[in-house]
Each structure stands twice: as structure tokens, then as C-alpha cells.
Symmetry: D2
Subunit: 346 residues, 4 copies
């Protein structure tokens, strides 16, 4: 069986795991105050070019989105998201659970256009009855998006400028941040993210860790008593070291980037193969998720030997499926997948 259904099929990268083992018996205080959390914070600040950043570690992505968004919105505000955004579609209403509306807007391959955002914001403020409506209080994007696509530096800058004009923060969900930033087609850097976003998170769960996401407020302006807010959400990790040691390892000697690049190489290898075999790509994803249109019969046959995600119906006879690579993907597995797909074409 081959496994491409997602990018969190394995445990942690060996170097991460080794550090957990090495530090295991050290007696460390809880709740993120230990030396590894401190060290990880410093490394992340350096990597972001944001020496004054506030950095917090949480366990998972949905949790992080809920905590961050709930903490930054006023009660009467909602968060703008692409209709396809993870918070709007696949978080079981975790944002609404905190009492806030997700204000969905149109998207282009998962991305929000600065023009769309501008129009939305302008329309709100010009509406006579806007006091009866949810105020747009924040913009949520993902980098890369649900569709594996990337904002260009120009697009991201335009979004950030629009947000600033309307005095609302821009938040980037970086569950797969590594896989986006190392793409050969990416012209955005981590420093750019830190400069243009008001808050973002660096995904660990999908990029080499057992669990963990690092929330970064690059300007050091985290909402007051953030830890208490985290606790109230049930999101406080007692043994904060679990996240701290892992992120410390990931941000030592560029491990995070090295393993991200591996996933990217595997995705490119897959993509080239798919194109060579003539499989139509659903869209042009420059990152570790590749979306392919399969004929339904092909899909059913493949299912017996390969794990993948069913994305959406293309038409009555075709389906879009997703193959994901990760830091742990072996080239042999990519080749085996391509061989199976080649058979289908024969």
C-alpha cells in the first residue's frame, strides 16, 4: 500500500525525536516557560527577522486558529476568509464555537484577492445598517492555501496594505508554511510573512513534529494575558517542553527548511511524472499537495493500492483527488505511484 492521503502520516523527524529522548529526564517547568521553549522562541524570532516577536506554542491547527482569531477579534467582529478556507469548511465550527462569524468571500484557487477584500470592507462601511451586521475584524488567509497555491509577494503586500488601511489584522495560517516558503515558485520569505502579517503560525504537525504549532506575533503585541486565553480554550500544554524541544530542533541548523525542501522535491518528482503520463492537473499547485483529475474507474482501481484524498467531483465521470508529500515521503514511493498510474494509461 502507498500512502499519499495527507502530510501527517508519520511521527516526528528523527532529529526532532532524538532531542525529545535526550531531554526527557530533565526537570522542566510547565506551560511553556522552560528553557527549550525559550530557546525555540529565540530561534524563531531570528528566523523571522522579528527580534521583539511574541511566540507561543499550541498543539494543533484548528486549536490555533480558534485561539488566535477569538483573541484578536472584538465580540462584534467576524473574520474574513476565502469560502474554501480551512476555518470555513473543515474545522467543525470551531470559530463559531467561540462566538464569531466567518465572513466568507470569493476566492481564486483558494486565495483572496486584495480587490475583493477592499470591496467587501468598503461595502460594509458604506452600508446604512452596518451596525446590525458582523463587523469585518480580521483577515484569515492560509499560506499555502487549501489548494496548495501561494500568494505572491505582490499579492500579499496588497492584502496587508488593505488590512492596514482598514485597521484590521492580517492572519496567516501556516499549517504547511515550510512547504510553501521553499517552493521554487515562491517569492515570499519568512521575513516577508513576519513583516506583512500581524500574526501567523508556523506549522509543526505537518512539517516534522509529532504535534505543535508556533504562533508568532511579529511585533510583540500579543493580546493581553494570552496564556489565560489559551487555558480558557483548553489549549494549554502542561508539558510545554513537548512543543519547545521540537521547535527548538526544527529551527536548529535549518532543519525545518531542509525537510520542507525534501517534500517539495518529492512533489515535483510526482508532478513531472503526472504530466509526462498526461494526467490533467486540477490546478497548478507549486507546493506539496498535487491535485489530479482521475476518471472514476481509475480512481476506484487505484484506491486499492494507494491512499489519497477525494477532493471534489470534476464532472459525472471524473473526480479530483489529492496526493500529498511530506518530509517523510520516500522517492521510491513516488515512483511506485507513478508506475501504478502508468499502468492505468496502458
Amino acid at each position: 500500500m502507498l500512502y499519499f492521503q495527507c502530510d501527517y502520516l508519520e511521527g516526528a523527524h528523527e532529529q526532532v525525536l532524538r532531542r525529545l529522548v535526550e531531554t526527557n529526564r530533565e526537570k522542566l517547568v510547565g506551560y511553556g516557560e522552560d528553557v527549550y521553549c525559550q530557546s525555540a522562541r529565540e530561534k524563531i524570532r531570528a528566523a523571522c527577522g522579528a527580534p521583539q516577536a511574541d511566540v507561543f506554542f499550541l498543539v494543533g491547527g484548528t486549536q490555533t486558529n480558534a485561539v488566535v482569531i477569538d483573541s484578536m477579534l472584538a465580540p462584534y467582529e467576524g473574520v474574513i476568509s476565502a469560502r474554501t478556507g480551512h476555518i470555513n469548511m473543515h474545522e467543525a465550527g470551531a470559530i463559531e464555537f467561540t462566538g464569531h462569524k466567518v465572513l466568507s468571500v470569493d476566492h481564486c484557487e483558494g486565495k483572496i484577492d486584495a480587490r475583493t477584500l477592499e470591496n467587501t470592507l468598503e461595502a460594509f462601511w458604506q452600508d446604512e445598517s452596518h451596525e446590525h451586521m458582523v463587523f469585518p475584524g480580521m483577515v484569515y488567509i492560509s499560506f499555502p492555501t487549501e489548494y496548495g497555491t501561494l500568494y505572491t509577494l505582490r499579492e500579499l503586500t496588497a492584502l496587508a496594505e488593505t488590512c492596514r488601511r482598514y485597521h484590521i489584522p492580517l492572519y496567516a495560517d501556516g499549517a504547511r508554511l515550510g512547504y510553501g516558503l521553499v517552493s521554487p515558485r515562491c517569492d515570499v520569505t519568512l521575513e516577508d510573512i513576519a513583516r506583512l502579517c500581524d500574526v501567523f503560525y508556523i506549522g509543526g504537525t505537518k512539517v516534522g513534529a509529532l504535534c505543535g504549532e508556533a504562533v508568532v506575533f511579529p511585533r510583540g503585541d500579543a493580546p493581553r494575558y494570552f496564556l489565560t486565553r489559551v487555558k480558557r480554550h483548553g489549549a494549554m500544554l502542561a508539558k510545554g517542553r513537548l512543543a519547545g524541544v521540537q521547535f527548538d530542533a526544527l529551527f536548529t541548523d535549518g532543519l525545518y527548511w531542509r525537510i520542507s525542501r525534501h517534500a517539495m522535491d518529492m512533489a515535483l518528482r510526482m508532478r513531472e511524472g503526472l504530466e509526462k503520463l498526461g494526467y490533467p492537473l486540477f490546478l497548478d499547485s507549486p507546493t506539496n499537495q498535487q491535485f489530479v483529475v482521475l476518471e472514476n474507474g481509475q480512481m476506484e482501481r487505484l484506491r486499492e493500492k494507494v491512499g489519497f484524498s477525494v477532493w471534489e467531483k470534476a464532472d459525472a465521470r471524473h473526480t479530483v483527488v489529492r496526493f500529498a508529500t511530506s518530509w517523510a515521503t520516500e522517492p521510491e514511493d513516488v515512483d511506485a505511484l507513478l508506475a501504478l498510474l502508468a499502468e492505468e494509461k496502458r
Copy 2:
């Protein structure tokens, strides 16, 4: 100045007010247990052809929507609404405040098509990852809709059947129920509503009362301890008599229908005049709200003498505005409006 901006510009219909005065010094128990609430309940049950119905009185529309929807959804469920639905657009996030997502779907002139609903529900249940999504737990419609349009009996039946097939309740927001049911183009009766919906409310605030909406669970299956849920929402009226006396009056000798018909007559008078004057209607509304496309200059001039609602931009040079009639609209005022509009055409 003429006033057509909404249908809640006056106090209560005189017969309603008179009953408040006549009963004022009676000593009555609170919280909806008094004789007038009981009497109003009986009259509403009779009008609905639902002798076993549970009937509760609340103060306003947004409150009613929040209490009813929150009470009928499981925590992991959301409510399906047309994108233009009041709960999705104009209730300041009152539904999300209760922790539930509004699952917006496409609409046609404010209405949800049974086919759209079916597709939405089917897609949810077929999605591999639906356990990570908000469950569609209820359908919200308004009758008439935000656009003044009406579901036909056939459309409403199709929606109800779809809901039943998926075991989710159908809820009708009847803020303007009277103005819908008396429309000459309406083939739905109150009994139909009670038969096809699992819960609905009969609007008082816009149809002759100072305040008050009557929530009806036609099959007598209101969520357990409904009053406590109401209290928890801060929605309990201490002097329940205020709603009880008013609804008792409205449902005595057909007052509710008589005053609804007056609003309808005024709307038809307005509509005929608008058509005669050649003003394009934005859509074909058969109820008390009429949507007209005005040239922006016309609109600005009119604004000085007439109150109306700005609905949306039609194009760069035109705007859709709404004129609403009510039980209190005088024919002279309609004629004066038409005269002003006639001047514009000269």
C-alpha cells in the same frame, strides 16, 4: 416628509393598544403564564389548525431566531440559510454568538430551492471528512423573504420533504408572515405553514404590535425546558402579558389578517402606480416591500422628502431602493409618494 423606510414606524394597532389599556390594572402572573397568553395560545393554535401546538411569546425577531435555532440544533450542527437570509446578514452574528454556524447556500430572489438544499445535504453526507465539518442540522427560510418573495405551496412542500428525508427541521421566520399570507399571489395558508414547518414564528412587531413574536411548534414538541433556554438567552419577558394581550387582540376577529390585507392593498396601489410611471421594479415582489430601481439623482432628490431604504447598487448610475407599507400606511401617503415620483418623470 413621507415614511416608507420600514414597516415598524408606528406603535401598535389601536385595537391592540386598547386591550393593553383595558387589562392594565389586572393582576397577572409573569413569564407567559397569564390568562391572556393562554387565550392567545388557543387562538393561534386554532388559526394554525394545530391544536396540540406549543406556543411561546418572545420580544423581537433576531432574539427569536437565536433562541429557536440554538434550542433546536445539536452543538455540532449549523443552520442552512440563503446567503441573503436575515440571520446571515443582518443579525450582527446573533446565531454565531450561540456557537452555531450559518451554512449559507445560494438563493433565488431570497428563496432556497429544494434542489439546492438536496445537493447541499447529499454533498455533506458523502464527504469523507464530514466529521470535521459543521453538520447541517436545520433549514431556515423566511416567509416572505428579505426580498418580499414567497414560496409557493409546491416549493415549500418540496423543502419540507427534503428536510424530512434528512431528518432535520424546517424553520420559517415569519417576521412579516401576515403580509405574505394575505398576498393575492400566495397559495400557502397558515395551516400549510404549520403542517410543513417544524417551527415558525408569527411576527407581531411588524404587523400591529408594539413588540412580540409568537413561536409555534405545531406538533407540540418544543425543546425541553424551553422557558429556561429563553431565560438563559436573556429573552424572558417578565410581564408576559405584554405579548399575550397583544397577540390575543391580533388573533381576535381576524385582526391580524385584516391589517395585513391593508398593508397589501397599499403595496398594490404603490406598485400599480410605479409601473404606470414606468419605474423598473428590481424584482417581482408580491408582498408589502417593493423594490424599485432609481437613477441616483432621482434617489438623492427623493431622499429629502421621503424615507426609504437603500437596498443595493444596481449599477454605477442606479440604485435599488425599498419602499415598505404596513398596517398603518395611509392611502394618501402612497399617493403623495407617487406624485413625487411622477414629478421626477416630467
Copy 3:
């Protein structure tokens, strides 16, 4: 039958009702922007000696408490209340519904002592793990309390000073404010309330109105976009005039105080009678609620002819019951109650 079970058994005071009738057909904008709301605001500001106060009208007491408290607390904060406070005992969890804890503290006849408050606040801030606890963010008192007792000016000043030292607001629930301020044993004025509290409400429902409570932020620092917060709670009154006209009437020519004094007179008449008859008072209430200890057999016999509230068990054979007077209580009814109680003693 005699009725002393509560102070909201009748409709509105006749002068209030008359104003509703007189203004009924005036065309007024909604949501509290009409001329009567404006006028009522001005009169309330004048009565409070707080010309810059923000004043909002809501429908009921639990609703008001939930909206005000939720609006003034940070997410990580709770509200301090006497264990017996209305928000802690009799609001069906409406505060917790908004996500905030009620931090209950010991009380003395319904009142919080400044020393108790000081200790609570100091203990919180000195606790090593206070970041894992709910922050005390506000103090809730009622004036008069649930037990009909009153804070003296000195007590209220001490509470206010403690709150200021800890930078948290003091909020007074004035559901029966009138009945407290007119008590011959009250040395606090409305101006004092406005000077010492950061927010409070003037109760209408129990003091002459059909419904309605006036929230006052005496320093004009209401939370931003308060109306949207109100709407989100489902607490917005479409026909704001309903509250505006009533409060305008109540604060014209001292009506509010006049009718409050009547309730007070009736309570004193009752109290004197009770004492003369030798009925033990549960506590020394200087306001319109009188708490009497009845032998259980007496209570059961009385129940057939008099409405009252069962407060709590005194011991196995006695029960504390409450008799409430109001603006609408007739002296004949008090005398009839006393006659029935006299019979019991024979």
C-alpha cells in the same frame, strides 16, 4: 385573592400608558434613535447629574445584566457577585452563556463588604497560578439587593474605592432602584450611584413600565459599538420608542420617584402591621420587599387567599416568605393581608 408575590403584577402606570397611546401614530425611527428616547436620555442624564452619560434602553433585567457584563469584561475575566446575587442564582446561567464565570463571594444580607472584596482581589493577584484562573474583572451589586437591603453611602463608597484601586468597574443592578432610593433609611442618591458606579441600570419593569431598563454609563464611556453588541445578544428593541416613551414619562415631573414612594409607603404600612401582630421579620428590609417567618401551617392556610413568594426554609417548621409591594399596591390590599394575618394569631 390578594397578590403580593412580586412587584410586576400590573401593566404600566397610567401616565406611562397614556403617553404610549398619545404618541402611538407618530412615525418614529427604530432602534432607540427616536425623539422620545433622546428626550428620556436627557432627563435621565439630568436626574443622574451626569450630563455626558451614555444611556441605552433594554427590555428586561437578566438581558441587561448579560449585555452589560459581557460587554465590559475581557474574555478572560469574570464578574464578582454575592453568592445570593440575581446573576448567580436566578438568571438560568445567562452570564455563563456569554462565556463568563460568576465569581461568587460571601455576603451579608445580600450585600458585599468592601473588606471581603479587597481580600478576594488581593488573594487573586497574589496567587502564584493566577494566570490559570478567572480574572476578577468587574463587581456586580444590586441596589437594593435580593433581600431588599441597601448599601449605605459609606459602604458603597468603600466598594467603589476598592474597585478603582484594582481598576475594575462597579456595576449596580437597579431593577428596583426607585424602591431603594426613596427608602427613608437610604442615604444614597441617584447622583451618588452615578458618581460611584461605572455602569448601572434604572429598572422600569418593576417601577411603572410595561417593560424596559435604562442602562447608564455615567461617564459616557460605553463599550464601543454598544448597539451592535446589544443586537448580537438578541436584545435590540426594533420599536425603541416603546422604552423611550415610557422612560420619558417616568422621568417627567418626578413620576418615577412618586410611584416609588407609594410602594415604600405600602411596604412600611405592611411592616408596621406585621410587627404589631408579632410576626418575626427574617431581616430588616428597608425597601418594598418584606420577608416574614411563617409557621408552615400558617403559610399553607394563607396560600389559599394570598399570593406570596416562598423564600427559603427557616427551620423544619417555619418558612421565610416574601411579600412585595409596588407602585400599584392598594392600601386596602395591605390592610386585607394584615387582617388575614391577624386572624392567624387569634
Copy 4:
């Protein structure tokens, strides 16, 4: 420096960690559906004598309490807890965040007495106005309690019987369950817990795991769509293996009990030493937390060499402090602590 401030100072027990390493590269599905989660579930079911139990893995204790309590309460219900209960004091309002009130009751050394519970429940149902109050919908206890104390089998049975008589579930917070069940003074077994409680959790974080708590519904009646509820709370672990592998290891060959017994041995060693040295114990704790009364000067001197928790003031000159042992406590460290305390006595 010596460390006794809590029982989560180290990483995971070596056998647990080894299994994480051994299984690290296995490709496993997420969200708790992998083979290790399945295996751990079976072992837990066997240990509980509850073959049909539903078992779920969550990350931390506050999170588990919030998810379980919110899932089992109706909206109008609250949870009964000892005033000193973790959910009432040290979870930053995480229960209230879900909209539910914690109904605190008196306790005895952290325990709720069945009689107190009975009285509370009876008083609620007999109260005339209970529809205006939060319904008691569940009982929360911890085993052992915050004070390290244990319910006897008889006490637990009495609580369970009271709960059943009132048709409300009994929930045991087992953050330190192992440390309670292995106490020589404990006459309750895991099977008893499973038989008497409707839901409970087996703590991992404090008993050998990096993180993780196992929620057990012994009768297999977990709330519907529990995983979606977990996700909505932001509590879903993407790599469910992290909890599964750990609990599988903990419940293999009695590891959980073995390491619990070690902590117990260390606590007894400490306790004997404390008694021998004449230090007064604050209460008679039979588990891994020992509460000692220190003179304030002693406490300050000790602080420089030993980590401990400041529990509460005993009087003006004395303070209660807590020393906790765990699976990782070394006998040498206990002896070193005792030596320091002996010095204080010289």
C-alpha cells in the same frame, strides 16, 4: 535544586518514549483511528472491565474536562463541583467558556459528600422558581481530589446512587487516577470507577506520558458524533498515534500501575520522614501530593533549594505548601528534601 512542585516535570516514562521511537516511521491514519489507538482502547477496556466502553484520547486535563462536560450537559444545565474543584478554580473559566455554569458546593478535604449532593439536588427541584435557575445536570469529582484525598468505595457508591436517582451522570477527573488507585489506603478499583461513574478519564500527562488523557464512557454511550464535538473544541489531535502509542505502552504489562506505585512509594517515604521530623501535615493525604504546614521563614529558606507549590495561607505566620512525587521521582531526591527539612529543625 530539588523539584517537587508538581508531577509533570519530566518527559515520558522511558518505555513509553521507546514505543514512540519504535513506531515513528509507521504510516498511520490520523484522528485516533490508527492501530495503536485501537490497541490502547482494547487494553483500557480490559483494565476497566468494560468491554463495550467508548474510549477517546485527548491532550490535556482542562481540555478533557471542557469537552466532556460540554458534551454531556443540556444547554440549560450546569455541573456540580466541589468549590475547590479544578474546574471551579484553576481552569481559567474553560467550562464557562462553553456556556455552562459550575455549580459549586461545599466540600470536605476536596470531596463532595453524598448528603450534600442530595440536599443540593432536592433543593433545586423543590424550588418554585427552578425554571429560572441553572439545572444541575452532572456531578464532577476528582479522584484523587485536589487535596490528594480519596473517596472510599462506600462514598463513591453513595454519590453514584444519588446521581442515578436524579438521572444525572457522575464524572470523575482522573488526572492522577493511577496515583489514587494504587494508594494502600484506596479500596476502590478501576473496575469500580468504571461501574460507578458514567464517564471518567485516565490521566496520562501526570502518569508517564508526554501528554494525553483517555476518556472512558464505560457503557459505550458517548455523546453522538463525539469526534466532531472534540474538533469543534479545537481538541482533535491530528496525529492521534501520539496518544495511542503512549496509552498502549502504559497499559501494557501493567506499566501504568507500576509507575504509579513508584510515585506512591516516594510519597510514603516523604510522609514518614515529615512525620518523624515533626512537620504538621495540613491534611491526611494518602496519595502522591503531600501538604505540609511550614513556618514562613522556613518556607522562604527552603525556596532557594527546593521547588514546591504554595497552597494557601495557614495563618499569619504559616503557609501550606505542597510537595508532589511522580513516576520519575528519585529516592535520593526525597532523602535530600528530608535532609534539608531536618536542618530546619536543628
